[in-house]
């Protein structure tokens, strides 16, 4: 395992910064001296977050409008982020939607939106960010939030799961492509996290639902370690290992 890399002074662009997870990640990052640019579609919130983060960390935090579904705007968004921070070392893609599998089953437009927001749009941001870091030739890091749901398709959420699975594969490919350029690619696979995305869903086994603070610490630690794939909390690695090993013929009959 490589030694810890300091995040001090690193210029990090958070894409989807108003997400429940990203907000706490941002606090962890400024506590470590990172410089942030927040991308969000809700600018009023993002500006409030930026002020909060500046007061916590004592470093400037900038804000830019980001609309995930407007793929054509992604390159300009990243260019602005780089310009506002005076450089770019890392892009962390956090936006996404869980959607409603029932509705997605009945109306493919809903399914498509889940796919767009969890696969297409993140891939678009990552492809522009990868090109930018490659052009700079300064190394750097790409991070994206996938999900344990992408490890195995389940009747309850396979639209979301398949989009996350696509994202995982995209990140794997990028990782190989960018390794020689010294650019690290980190795939984060959270289990259920207690955020607005899941509030009110009454997750069975509430104890398996993690607090965003714990997840954020896991993500930032993985960034410092230069990890490639990380489950947060880490026990999900074990659970998914077991679930993935179950033969399809048996898995399809399990009510999961």
């Amino acid at each position: 395992m490589s030694h810890l890399q300091s995040l001090r002074g690193r210029r990090i662009c958070l894409v989807g910064s108003t997400s429940g997870i990203a907000r706490v990640v941002a606090r962890e990052l400024v506590a470590r001296g990172a410089i942030l640019h927040l991308g969000a579609r809700d600018l009023e919130e993002a500006r409030r977050d930026a002020v909060d983060l500046e007061l916590r960390g004592g470093l400037p935090v900038s804000v830019g409008r980001f609309e995930a579904l407007d793929l054509g705007s992604h390159a300009a968004f990243l260019a602005e982020a780089r310009q506002r921070m005076g450089g770019l070392d890392c892009v962390l893609v956090a936006f996404g939607i869980l959607g409603d599998q029932e509705r997605a089953r009945r109306d493919f437009a809903d399914a498509r939106q889940i796919m767009d927001l969890n696969y297409l749009a993140p891939a678009s941001v990552l492809s522009h960010a990868a090109a930018m870091l490659e052009d700079q030739g300064t190394g750097g890091m790409l991070v994206a939030l996938g999900s344990v749901a992408g490890d195995r398709g389940r009747p309850g959420n396979y639209t979301y799961g398949s989009a996350k699975a696509g994202l995982h594969a995209y990140l794997q490919g990028l990782r190989g492509r960018l390794a020689s350029a010294g650019i690290r690619v980190l795939t984060v696979k959270p289990g259920p996290v207690d955020t607005p995305m899941t509030f009110g869903m009454g997750f069975p086994g509430g104890r398996l639902t993690a607090q965003p603070e714990a997840v954020a610490r896991g993500i930032v630690r993985a960034m410092e370690r230069g990890s490639e794939v990380v489950y947060v909390p880490c026990f999900w690695g074990l659970i998914m290992g077991v679930l993935k090993a179950i033969p399809e013929s048996l898995f399809k009959r399990m009510k999961l």
Binding site: E44, T195, F199, G200
Partner: protein, 465 residues
Amino acid sequence: MTKTKVGLAAETRKLAGWGRYPEATGLAVRPEKLSAVRAAVGSDRWSSVLARGLGRSYGDPAFNPEGCTLFTERLDRLISFDPASGWLRAEGGLSFRAILDLFLPRGWFLPVTPGTRHVTLAGALACDVHGKNHHRDGSVGRHVGGLRMLLASGEEVECSAQERPDLFHATVGGMGLTGLVLEAELRLRPIQTAMIRQQVRPAGDLDSLMALLEEHDNRVPYSVAWLDTVAEGRNLGRGVLLLGDHAGIADLPSSQARNPLSRRPGLRATVPFDAPGGLLNPTTIRAFNSTYYNLQKRKAGESLIALDPYFYPLDIVDDWNRMYGRSGFVQYQFVVPTSTARSTLVGVLEACARKGLASFLSVLKRFGPGAGNLSFPFEGYTLTLDFPVAPGLFEFLDDLDWMVLDAGGRLYLAKDARMSPATFRAMYPEFRRWLEVKHQVDPHDRFRSAQSVRLAMHSQEVSSR
């Protein structure tokens, strides 16, 4: 799951205060954004709303089972800080714990703090909480500047002691019933070290304990007494006075003086399940009282103690409220004027003894002048007692209410689960004036709690007069 346009999901939760009595079930939302909190207050999916902080009030003031309870702990952003004056502006859900974590290392402390740091800024304000320095510095409202409030109408307004003072004073101590505090300003106080110079002074009976408390009124910023509720006869009301002051750098041993603001958080523990039948039963409580008195007596004298264990001894154990077991407990806190304090305290302690009731943690403290409206403290003595909920307890507490009322005293709403609307009105003569303001800003009682319903703190009363 129900979702609105802003993606605000509600869930049905079991709701209770810190004493876990009473319990109810109701809808809950947990907004993380302004748009979400606005939508929740304005939503027609529920008939009424209430903001909740960290749920550290004891009885039923922090939930609304018939409407929707808004969990605000994620609305916790800092908005501004002026290092020249110590004025901090933040969202109402910011916790005292977070304020300490962020500002103690920079040399700032809370102007007033309750005995736990797990409270929110707005929750502390809504109860106008007091600390060990009330006799000198008053309650938290005295250290609050401007507020930004979200009213029932959806309007957002600023208020302070200068701007819309009626609304400001009705909100400080107003138990969340005038609107939702989005932002508040709190003036932090500069400190040099994270240590406290503590003095422990045992007193063998109530008279000497009260004399000690009064003697130190003007000399020491922090003062509070622990009372042995088991002692009887000539030991009745014996206790230990705990005095404190912030240590200066010169007070620290040289090893610590180099890092004067570093904290020593101490141990952590948790109560992972409900103690069967209650770990705290009459036998263990009696044993604890005597042991604690004798232990403290041996510690008499001066010492240096870390700030966290000094102010927050109970925070060492997470979820300590579970020690009382399933049926929960109530805290009974009253204040009586100095003139009637002694006779009331003797009366209450003797009544407890007759009933065979001992309180686990009993705290006696002097209050300075009060802030008016529904704010609890006024000049005199306050006593806090803990009792596990058991058959016969409430009849007994009704009797105590009479003693308190006769003495010109009142109960603390933040700890109340059971007083009657009539008792409340008799104890809070300013309620009528408060209600006028409530009526102006919330004529249809959009903001309600289980407590406000129980005590009939309704605007409707004004309009129907």
